[in-house]
Every structure is written in structure tokens, then in C-alpha cells.
């Protein structure tokens, strides 16, 4: 419990928490003090002076800024008296003196704190008859954001955000006095993965986002809350739309997931939904061509073929890949479809780039995102959070920078958080186990001692494809043996991976964090009927099964294994060999272009349902538009096929699917739409009532020791890439780095590499030309190639690499 102090606000006595800012305390007690520069999630600067209040002091009443002074016992604050009123009116008149007042054509008009507070606290007229400040307007400061310096009131919210919160201080105050302006540094655009937040928090229309400019008036927008679905953190968002068209997405402030911040991918990455290339009707292959057909015909064709194969070879002839992008309801339907309709456990939502399904879904000591705030030490032995989990990146940065949490980063090269790391270790790709042994044996005493803290959060995942997926479990096991309380955050890609695994989209998992096995299957059989009781094949084995003919029919649900698998060739060969491929998807992609039947699906914001994030938090996502053409939700497509096959799913409405999940999936007991729509808008962490039956305890495993001489290859993802959703979101796709190879200056010198010039990169699995980037962030001996870039080639998982300069 925080202590409280007794203070007076406008003559009224209140008990307020000690140490709180006056502006916050007053607000909690129902007194709104006007403000521009103060933002709850950032350090106060007291610059705009809008929040001046009068405080009694031994030397008489004093003007202080309510956003910088904290409450004290016996303090008496006046927020409305003549002095304060004079100050407020003066500040507003000053702010408006040079303001262009182009509100009719300003995106912010109607939701503008300057307009609102001029109305509520301003003098009502302006006596400024001089010539206003003039600037060229607007100027682009990045690919996504424009700046209108005439509208700017110099509150430093944008600069503080980029400095304090996102850690890329690329905009700053320049000049001084009356010609002070916000701007970027020469030749350094504001290229931040988080730039859109500045637009959201700018209290005027000075910063605008290219994708939204001039597209709407705020009062015409309908607003619906949902969750961002670009990574597994599921930031809370509000979707603003007009006539079923999403016009923009803004972050919703909550403690649980995102503090109101969003990555630009979560904010601007909805363009694909409105893409011309969306699939709008079912397509079937006839004479080598994809032909549009009606739903009934397409479903009949699929059902008949399933029937035929099932008659001949039974359930083991089927494989299902995907399902990690939809809702839990979709995933549940798919899980049930695989088991009940297809009769198989060959189902996997992971793309051969993930940790074990039991580790992901079944660790009972899973960390909450908010655990990062209260940890003593955070160990990150995983992807570069800034590139792959931008929300977690912001949270971890804050923990290290503002809350004094120790941060240990283990990665093959520098990550976006290295500047905040207490300790960092760089290792050669594939050398993870050797390093882990060293830590265990005390070779890195500073790390061992940081890990021996009371409360440690371990963020684990694959740093690059060269990491053995089991390494993450060994890391978790080692920390468990050292620290007091350990919380584990295993990372996965694809936004609803955790929901999908919880729904049983793993070869060894059933809904509700239950293992495939006699006991779990038996209890589920009461509602599902009989299905195989031994674990099925994972993605890699399914693809191999297709290749050798053991599996005849593949169902791809929102999955593009050719592009997504670390070794794309495995998927390509398997798809070529497959007898029958059905794809449920939003787009044609490199994996389904040659499928037998392609069924158009609904995407994000086109359907309602539940999703589960990296901490096991279940939130509700909502529909804004009905989707293009005849596209349908995955679950309803699957239910129709199942009906036709004659082994129905009994699923008729998304909301009733959620009810069924709550009944049959132990960890989801009590989780209903109602609960999440009304009482728990920020979600609940499961299990809330039920239990999870698996308790995966990682054990220290030995793994391959791979320290080698020569160059080793580090392939990892970047925020913007050539994934299918990005491909159809042009604003962001343009920002993908492209086919690059990063080299340390020393290696570059040895190899004769020059910045921007092509280098030939050759591995066991592929080869291609990549433009050289020479940077200190890449240690000597390591070669970094961003994965899945437009124009790039897949280089596979083996760290052995040869790099040569391309002559000419």
C-alpha cells in the first residue's frame, strides 16, 4: 500500500497517494487541470506551462506546474483562482498567437487538445495583430510521418517519445526562442519502427500520418476496440473506420500489454485488408488453371476428395498446417476438424521455426508482460525484440531505463536493446550450447551473478535459424537452477500461435493445454467422439510425409510454408509431390498458387472472436468490415466441409464455439465473450478457473557444439519483410531492407566488400547475391542476412557460409 497524504484542492480536502503529481492527484479527484506537454507515460518536462496552479507556501502563494510538482501533506492547491485563470488564458493566447488556425483542413480538428482547451480555458479572442510565423508546410520527416511546424506547439511529446520510449532520438528541438522548431537531423530521417505514436500523442495536428491524412473527420469515425495481430503480444487497439473501411488504428492505454504504444506495423499494417489482390471467391484448379466457382461446388469438391482419401488410407493420409493467424474459434474448429473429420493428429500451427509445443503452451511459470516491470533481472536470449516483438521491446527498454531492471542480452550480434543492456554477450550462430555451458561453469561470473537474483524473467526463443530449438529450454532450465523466482516468456512468431496451440493445433496437444494421450483423448471423446490417441506429425514431418507419399492431402490454413519455413525448399518439394492441396487464405501466395482448391477467408477485423497472447492473456477481437466478396471465416468453411464429409463439427456460431471451448478446454473454463466485452476489456490470463494439465518443465539438454572457425551465418527476421501480409501493405513493404548481407568492417576488408556492392552468399541450402552493409553491430566472424526479403533467397538453417565479392 502506498502512503497517502491529506491535501486541499480548491478548498476541498482529499487523501491522495504520496508522491503523486498534483495533476494526477487532482484528476483522480475529479479536477481536470489543462495540459499539453504532460503525458502519463513519459517524464514530465513542464514546458507548455498550461498546467500552472497556485500552491500556498511560506512565502505566499506560488505558481507551480501541476505536472512537475508532487503532492505533499497539508498542501493547498488552487486550480481556478484569478491568478491561475490569468495564467491559463495567457498561455492559450500565446499558443494561438502564431498558430495557423487551419483547423478546417487539419486532421486533428475535432479531437484536438488545443481546440478543446482553447474552448474550455482560453480567453476567447486573440489580440495578436502581428505577422505570424511562417514555415514550409508540411515537410515529410519519414516515409510515414509529416510535420507541420506552424501547428506545432513545441510540447516535446514527440521528442520525448522517440528518446525515452522508443530509443531512437531522431527528432529534436532546433534553433531557439521564437524560431524554435522540431525537426530531424540533416540526412537522418525519422525512420523509427514506432513513429506513428508521435502522431497519436501530438496534441495538435503538427504530426500527421501519410496513410490517414485528409481521409476523414474524426467525428465521422466509428471506433471499435480490438487487439493488434502482428505479433504475439496483442497490444490493445482502437480501430477507427468509416463505412466499414478501416481508416486508422490507434493504441489504447492499458497496463497489461502496451501502455497505449504501437509499432508502426500494428498501426499502419492494415492496408492488406483492402488490397485488390484479396481472394473473393473459391478457386478450383481445372486443366492447370484456377477457376472461380461457387461455394457449394467448391465445398463439394473438397468433401468428396477427403472422403475418397479417407476411405482408401484413413486419417494418417492427411496433414494440416497453419491456423496461427486466426481467432481461437477458428483454431478450435480446425483442431476439431483435423481430429474428428480427418481423423488425424497431423496438425501443426508452427512453421518449423519454433520452440516445442509443450514448452510454448505448457510452461506453468509463464511470465506476464508486466512482470518485466518488477523483475530484478531480465535475460533475453531470443530474437532481436525490436525487430520481431516491438511491443516487448518497448516494455523491456522501459524496465531497464526507467525502472532499474538489469538487462542481459545474449545474441549473435547487436540488438535494438544493447544500449540499455547491463551485460551483453555475442556468440557465433549455432554456438549457443557451448556458451550456455560456459555460463553454467562460471566463465561469465557477472552474468551468473545477475541471474542469481530474486526475480528473473527469461525471454527465450531462437536468435536465428541456426539455434537448435531445444536451446531455449536449456536456457530456461539453467536460470531456474540459479534464480529465486523465475518467469519464462517463450517467444513464437505469428500472432495467435499461443491461442492456436491452446486450441490443440499441435501434433501432441489438445484444446486447453492437454497432451495428446489416452487420458486427454478419452475425456475429449465425450464431446468429440473417438480420434487417434497417439501424437501426430509436426510441420516438418508432414512435409516429409507429403514428399514420400505417406501423406496424400494437405490442408493449408493461412500458411505459406515456402516463404515462412527456414528451409523453403523442403516446402516447395513437398507441395510439388502432394497429391491434393487445399488452401484457406486471404491471398494467393508462393505455397498455394498451385493448390487444387483455394477458399477465400476473412482476415483481421473482419470477424469476431478470442485471441491469446504470449502471456496467455485472452482478449476479444472485433469485426469492422464484412470482408471482401464471398470470403468467410475459417471455422464456418471447415464446419461446412465437415457436414458434407458426414463427420460434422456441430459448430454454428463463433460465440457458441467460444462457449464450447470454455466447456471442453480445461484452461479456458469461464472464458466467455461476455466477460471480455464487459468486465475484462484488457483480457484475462488463462487459466482463470480451470487448470492446465500439462506442466512442461524444461530440463537442461546437451546440444550440438558448433564453434567453428571462419564465417558463420546469422539469419533473422526484421520487422518489415516479404511476408504475404506485408507484401500487400505497400506503405510498409517499401520499408523492408531488401536483400542485404551485414559484415563487420574487419571481415569486409578481408573479403574486399564495399558498402552497397553485391556479395555472393552460399550455404548448403541456397545461394544468392546480397548488397553489403558494413557495420560494427555485426561481430567479426558473423554474417547477418535478414530473412525473407523482397528479392532475396532462402539460405536455410546451417550456419556454415561462404561469402565472396561479386566482380564487375
Amino acid at each position: 500500500m502506498t502512503e497517502s497524504v491529506r491535501m486541499t484542492i480548491d478548498g476541498q480536502e482529499h487523501d491522495v497517494p504520496a508522491g503523486e503529481l498534483i495533476i494526477q492527484a487532482a484528476q483522480d479527484k475529479g479536477t481536470y487541470i489543462p495540459r499539453f506537454c504532460w503525458h502519463e507515460r513519459m517524464n514530465p518536462v513542464g514546458m507548455c506551462r498550461m498546467c500552472l496552479v497556485e500552491v500556498e507556501s511560506p512565502r505566499g502563494p506560488m505558481l507551480v506546474t501541476a505536472c512537475t510538482d508532487t503532492v505533499a501533506d497539508g498542501m493547498s492547491v488552487d486550480t481556478k483562482g484569478p491568478t491561475v485563470k490569468k495564467a491559463q488564458e495567457a498561455i492559450l493566447e500565446f499558443l494561438l498567437a502564431n498558430h495557423p488556425l487551419d483547423c478546417p483542413v487539419c486532421d486533428k480538428g475535432g479531437e484536438c487538445p488545443l481546440q478543446d482547451q482553447a474552448m474550455s480555458h482560453g480567453p476567447g479572442d486573440s489580440r495578436f495583430v502581428e505577422i505570424k510565423r511562417n514555415y514550409e508546410k508540411p515537410i515529410p520527416i519519414s516515409d510515414l510521418v509529416l510535420l507541420d511546424r506552424e501547428r506545432c506547439i513545441l510540447c516535446a511529446r514527440c521528442t520525448r517519445f522517440s528518446d525515452e520510449i522508443s530509443g531512437d532520438p531522431l527528432i529534436e528541438f532546433q534553433e531557439r526562442g521564437n524560431v524554435t522548431e522540431i525537426n530531424t537531423f540533416p540526412d537522418l530521417p525519422f525512420s523509427s519502427y514506432f513513429s506513428g505514436n508521435t502522431v497519436q500523442i501530438c496534441p495538435v495536428g503538427a504530426l500527421t500520418a501519410k496513410p490517414y491524412r485528409f481521409r476523414a473527420r474524426p467525428w465521422d469515425l466509428s471506433r471499435v476496440e480490438s487487439s493488434g495481430m502482428f505479433d504475439t503480444s496483442h497490444p490493445r487497439i482502437s480501430i477507427h473506420s468509416s463505412q466499414n473501411q478501416i481508416l486508422r488504428i490507434v493504441g489504447v492505454d492499458n497496463d497489461a500489454t502496451n501502455h497505449g504504444w504501437l509499432s508502426d506495423k500494428d498501426r499502419f499494417g492494415f492496408e492488406y485488408l483492402g488490397s485488390e489482390d484479396r481472394l473473393t471467391t473459391p478457386l478450383v484448379k481445372r486443366g492447370g488453371e484456377l477457376v472461380a466457382v461457387g461455394w457449394a461446388e467448391a465445398l463439394d469438391i473438397v468433401a468428396n476428395r477427403i472422403d475418397l482419401i479417407w476411405e482408401e488410407d484413413g486419417g494418417s493420409a492427411f496433414g494440416v498446417i497453419g491456423g496461427a493467424r486466426g481467432t481461437n474459434e477458428d483454431a478450435y474448429a480446425l483442431s476439431k476438424f483435423a481430429r474428428v473429420t480427418l481423423g488425424t493428429n497431423n496438425v501443426d500451427c508452427r512453421m518449423d521455426d519454433a520452440l516445442s509445443s509443450h514448452f510454448l503452451a505448457g510452461s506453468v511459470d509463464r511470465a506476464l508482460i508486466s512482470d518485466l516491470d518488477t523483475a530484478d533481472t531480465i535475460l533475453i536470449w531470443a530474437a532481436d525484440l525490436k525487430e520481431e516483438h516491438p511491443n516487448l521491446y518497448l516494455r523491456a527498454r522501459r524496465a531497464a531505463q526507467e525502472l532499474g531492471v538489469k538487462l542481459i542480452i545474449v545474441h549473435p550480434r547487436a540488438t535494438g536493446l544493447d544500449d540499455r543492456a547491463t551485460h551483453k554477450l555475442h556468440y557465433r550462430p549455432g554456438g549457443g550450447f557451448a556458451l550456455l555451458d560456459e555460463i553454467a561453469e562460471g566463465v561469465h561470473p557477472e552474468i551468473a551473478s545477475a541471474l542469481a537474483a530474486q526475480k528473473v524473467v527469461v525471454i527465450v526463443g531462437q536468435t536465428s535459424f541456426a539455434d537448435d530449438p531445444k536451446l531455449a529450454e536449456s536456457v530456461a532450465a539453467l536460470v531456474r537452477s540459479k534464480a529465486g523466482t523465475v518467469r519464462i516468456m517463450p517467444l513464437a512468431r505469428r500472432a495467435n500461435t499461443f491461442g492456436a496451440l491452446d486450441m490443440g493445433l499441435g501434433p501432441d496437444l489438445l484444446p486447453g493445454r492437454v497432451s495428446v494421450g489416452a487420458i486427454g483423448c478419452a475425456s475429449l471423446a465425450e464431446s468429440w467422439g473417438e480420434f487417434p490417441t497417439s501424437p501426430g506429425k509436426d510441420t516438418r514431418s508432414i512435409l516429409e510425409g507429403l514428399d514420400d507419399g505417406e501423406i496424400r492431402c494437405l490442408l493449408l490454413v493461412g500458411a505459406d510454408p515456402v516463404n515462412d519455413l527456414p528451409i523453403g525448399a523442403i516446402a516447395r518439394d513437398a507441395l510439388e509431390a502432394a497429391e491434393y492441396v487445399v488452401s484457406i487464405d486471404l491471398f494467393l501466395n508462393d505455397s498455394n498458387a498451385d493448390a487444387d482448391v483455394i477458399l477465400p477467408a476473412l482476415g483481421f477485423a473482419e470477424k469476431e472472436g478470442l485471441v491469446t497472447n504470449v502471456e496467455g492473456r485472452v482478449q476479444k477481437v472485433n469485426a469492422i468490415s464484412p470482408g471482401p466478396g464471398q470470403a468467410r471465416a475459417d471455422w464456418s468453411i471447415l464446419a461446412d466441409i465437415a457436414d458434407r464429409v458426414g463427420r460434422p463439427l456441430g459448430l454454428a456460431l463463433a460465440e457458441t464455439i467460444a462457449k464450447e471451448i470454455a466447456e471442453v478446454a480445461p484452461a479456458y473454463e469461464g472464458v466467455t465473450w461476455d466477460l471480455l466485452e464487459w468486465d475484462e476489456r484488457d483480457g484475462v490470463v488463462v487459466p482463470i478457473q480451470g487448470s492446465q494439465q500439462i506442466n512442461h518443465i524444461p530440463v537442461s539438454l546437451a546440444g550440438p557444439r558448433a564453434p567453428r572457425a571462419g564465417l558463420t551465418l546469422h539469419v533473422a527476421r526484421t520487422l518489415y519483410d516479404d511476408g504475404v501480409l506485408m507484401r500487400h501493405s505497400p506503405s510498409l513493404h517499401r520499408l523492408a531492407p531488401g536483400p542485404l548481407v551485414h559484415l563487420n568492417p574487419e571481415d569486409a576488408r578481408r573479403l574486399g566488400a564495399q558498402g552497397g556492392r553485391p556479395m555472393r552468399v552460399v550455404t548448403k541450402h541456397g545461394e544468392g547475391d546480397f548488397a553489403a552493409v558494413i557495420d560494427e553491430d555485426t561481430p567479426e566472424g558473423v554474417v547477418f542476412v535478414p530473412f525473407n526479403q523482397p528479392g532475396g533467397v532462402s539460405l536455410g538453417t546451417d550456419p556454415v557460409v561462404r561469402v565472396t565479392a561479386v566482380s564487375g
Binding site: 513542464g46 505558481l63 512537475t68
Partner: protein, 471 residues
């Protein structure tokens, strides 16, 4: 009370070479620093407290008290404020150029008293000669073992770093100075929480003292707090350096004990008004200070208390004298323009308000003024300094914005008619001649004027008060 020269004594006795270390040491230099090495923090702090030494940077805060507030965290830093940029102020420059060792010795004493091992001297960028002299003095002190590791053979280490400012007046404000030293924008920090004594340079406890303040320290140790305190007038101890400029016959720096009157300072010490013109107004403590006028203030004693009681301050000791040829609108416009130009731009009232004030004043001076403009000007000023009182009730982070209001208060109180005359005539009533004559800027390139002995006796070289006397 005796006339006394303390910090300028050496440069008067040795006009050619007072900056040299041999001269310095021959005249008692570094004896006190050597002594201080053997003293405790408490002894030193108590001595300085007892001496009554007030800061000479403008705020006139007790130096000893400031030291005693230094938070316990270590390392702690010392920063010498040699940014001297207040219009009309040029006294630190003389101390820097002509007696740099005196300041270095003061730094050593301050460092020992405050357990400081690294001091920074922040010198105004436009003072290259000062910087060279100080650098030479610091180098010599290092060579003699007075700076560096184990100073004077003790176990106290002291490094000194010299930093040249980038040309912003606001960097004289102690927290802006600290930001600037850290390589950041020169913007004042919020107080609270960033009081230098607690969270100063690199967020560590920091003492910021003015050049003149620390230059007094060797003498305080030498004379003893009590003796030093006797060079005084009631509350104000020691001497005070006045930079007198403007329309006087003898502009220059004068070291004085407090307590003489303004009449004496202007007419005797500074030789009276040039060409025997009439005195119109003067600024008693640097461009930030509210103005004084002969009718009300000429016989006021020059003490902190009396000056503040009359609604102004002694500030940095810059006395800017304006004679009857001065257009006060133009003088006010020039001063406000300075503050508007030097505003760091952080806070709304200062950034927007001072420029607005400048625009209104310029309009009036150029004959475009309206009847309502003086009231508008006062109301705009009121938004920066509520109530237009002194000391100001600021709506800003630092006192720079409210400083711009001082000349406007003078217009309101003493020169309202002159302002309205501008409006009525649609031009400056003093004519274009006033433009050249009313220049209140200090020409930093003019030859140095030596400090002179205080002349206490009325009439000893001065002129009859109030009027010009035959040359």
C-alpha cells in the same frame, strides 16, 4: 567603514602582469589554498558562511549556505560560471584575464570544502582571451602540483576542465549551463527536482559558483571571516564589482563596498553623465533588473536590501546609465529583443510572449503604435510575470522570460507619457538622433578600464549631484 579593494587589488598594483603565477605567488597567492588542504569541510563551510559572502552571479545567495546544501552522494562536481553574458556585465572578464590564479585558488578552496575532484570552468564563447589566460593559469597550476593528483602533496585530487560556451546567454543560467556542459541543448532544467546541489552535472551533486564569488575565497581565508565581514555595510559583506556603462564619463569596473548611494556611484565614481546631460534612468543590476529613475532612487543606498525594497536588484552588478537623449521605448525594445532572441524556447510564455512584446514595442517606436498598445504590452507581460511585481510571479521555468518584463514596468511607471507621445505623433519624439545615442549595448571590444579605488568622500572628483558641472 573603510574603502577596500579585495579582488582587484593585485591588478591595480601590478597592472602589467597580475595574471602571472610568479606575481601571484609573490603577492600571497596560493597560501590559502595550501592552508585549506589541511582544513575540514565543516571548517571551510562555516568560515564562508560566517563571512556572509553572497553569490556574485546575480541571485545573491549565500555561498556558504549553498555549499552546506550539497547532497551527500559522490562524486560531486564544481562548475564555475564564467559565462558572463548579462548585458552590461563585464566584471568577470576582468577577473579572468587579469587575475586568473585568484579564481583557480578559489576553485581549489571550494573543491576541498565540497569534496570535489573535478571542476569545470564554463567560459563565455566570446571571451577567447579570457579562456587563453585561464588555460595558461590552469596549466601552470598543474605544473606546480596545485592541480592534478595529490594537490600540494596532499591526498586530494583535483582535475580542472575548461569549456567554452557556444554563444547563448541562457547558458549562464546554472542548469542550462549544466545541460550545455553535458552536450545537451542549453535549456534550464526544472527546479524542483533538478537543483544542482542534489541533481546537477550528470545528475550528481554540483556546486555552481560565479567567478567573482570564488575569487573572494582566498581573501576570506586570509582576512578571516570576521575581518572580511567588516568590509561591509550592515547586511552586505565584502566588496562588490560594479560594471558601469552607458552615458557616463567614466564607464568601467569599480570594486566598491556596499552602502554608497546611486548618486555617488554615478556622479562621483563613474564621473557623471557625459556632456553634462541630464540623467534619465539607470538599470541597477544588469539588463534583467527593473529600472531606477533619478526622482525616486538617486539617494538610495546601494545595498541588497534597499535595492530589493525599491523593487529591483543588484543582480550581476551591471549599472547601465541612460541620459536624457535616450528614447526609453527604443531602449526597452532593444532589451526585450535581447531576451526574445536569447529565450531558449522551452516555455510558451517566454518563447511566444517576449517576441510579441518586442513586436509591439517596435511598432510603437516606428510610429505604428495604437492607443491600446501599452495596455496590451502590459497584459502580455502580465502573462509572463503575473502582477508585474518584483520579484516576479513567473509563469516560466527560469527568470529569463520575466526579465524581459523589467523595461516594460519602467515604461509603465515612469515613461507612460513618452510612450503615448510615440503613438500620438506616429514617430519617435526624440527623433532619429536618439537611435545612435540610446545604444545601451556594451561594446565588448572597447579598451579595458581598470578598477579604481573607491572614493568615498563626496565631491572628491565627482560632480555636483543631479546636474552637470563644467569639464
Amino acid at each position: 567603514m573603510s574603502a577596500a579593494l579585495i579582488v582587484t587589488r593585485r591588478m591595480i598594483d601590478h597592472p602589467a602582469d597580475s595574471h602571472r603565477i610568479d606575481v601571484y605567488e609573490d603577492t600571497g597567492g596560493y597560501v590559502q589554498a595550501r592552508r585549506a588542504v589541511g582544513m575540514t569541510r565543516d571548517e571551510l563551510v562555516d568560515t564562508v558562511k560566517a563571512s556572509g559572502l553572497l553569490g556574485r552571479g546575480g541571485a545573491a545567495f549565500s555561498a556558504g549556505l549553498k555549499w552546506s546544501f550539497l547532497a551527500p552522494a559522490r562524486p560531486a562536481y564544481l562548475v564555475i560560471n564564467a559565462d558572463e553574458s548579462e548585458p552590461g556585465t563585464f566584471k568577470d572578464r576582468q577577473l579572468l584575464e587579469r587575475d586568473p590564479h585568484q579564481m583557480v585558488e578559489g576553485i581549489i578552496i571550494t573543491a576541498i570544502a565540497n569534496e570535489v575532484h573535478h571542476a569545470f570552468i564554463y567560459i563565455r564563447g566570446e571571451y577567447p582571451k579570457s579562456a587563453r589566460r585561464v588555460q595558461a593559469a590552469v596549466d601552470e597550476a598543474y605544473a606546480c602540483g596545485y592541480l592534478g593528483s595529490g594537490i600540494f602533496g596532499s591526498d586530494h585530487d583535483l582535475e580542472v576542465t575548461i569549456h567554452l560556451g557556444g554563444g547563448a546567454y541562457i547558458c549562464g543560467e546554472e542548469t542550462a549551463l549544466i545541460n550545455s556542459l553535458e552536450g545537451k541543448r542549453g535549456e534550464p532544467r526544472l527546479k524542483p527536482p533538478y537543483f544542482p546541489a542534489a541533481k546537477g552535472l550528470y545528475m550528481l551533486p554540483t556546486i555552481v559558483n560565479n567567478v567573482e564569488t570564488v575569487s573572494n575565497l582566498p581573501h576570506i581565508l586570509d582576512m578571516g571571516a570576521e575581518e572580511y565581514g567588516k568590509v561591509a555595510h550592515e547586511t552586505d559583506t565584502g566588496t562588490f564589482l560594479f560594471s558601469v556603462s552607458g552615458h557616463v564619463n567614466g564607464p568601467g569596473n569599480y570594486e566598491l563596498a556596499h552602502g554608497i548611494t546611486w548618486r555617488e556611484l554615478i556622479y562621483e565614481v563613474a564621473g557623471g553623465i557625459r556632456d553634462d546631460r541630464k540623467l534619465k534612468a539607470w538599470i541597477p543590476g544588469g539588463a534583467s533588473a527593473p529600472w531606477f529613475v533619478p526622482a525616486q532612487h538617486l539617494d538610495l543606498e546601494i545595498t541588497k536590501e534597499a535595492t530589493e525594497g525599491a523593487g529591483s536588484m543588484l543582480g550581476s552588478g551591471a549599472v547601465i546609465v541612460m541620459d536624457e537623449t535616450t528614447c526609453t521605448v527604443r531602449a526597452a525594445e532593444r532589451l526585450v529583443r535581447f531576451f526574445a532572441h536569447e529565450s531558449c524556447g522551452q516555455c510558451t510564455p517566454c518563447r511566444e510572449g517576449t517576441t510579441w512584446m518586442e513586436m509591439i514595442l517596435r511598432r510603437i517606436e516606428e510610429g505604428q503604435g495604437r492607443e491600446v498598445d501599452l495596455d496590451l504590452l502590459l497584459d502580455v507581460s502580465d502573462g509572463i510575470s503575473i502582477g508585474l511585481a518584483w520579484p516576479p510571479k513567473m509563469t516560466t521555468i527560469c527568470p529569463l522570460g520575466p526579465s524581459a518584463v523589467s523595461p516594460v514596468i519602467a515604461l509603465r511607471d515612469y515613461f507612460r507619457d513618452e510612450v503615448m507621445e510615440h503613438v500620438r505623433l506616429g514617430r519617435c519624439p526624440l527623433g532619429t538622433a536618439a537611435r545612435g545615442a540610446s545604444n545601451s549595448e556594451t561594446d565588448i571590444d572597447r579598451p579595458e578600464v581598470l578598477a579604481v579605488e573607491t572614493r568615498r568622500e563626496r565631491g572628491s572628483g565627482g560632480r555636483p549631484p543631479g546636474e552637470g558641472s563644467p569639464a
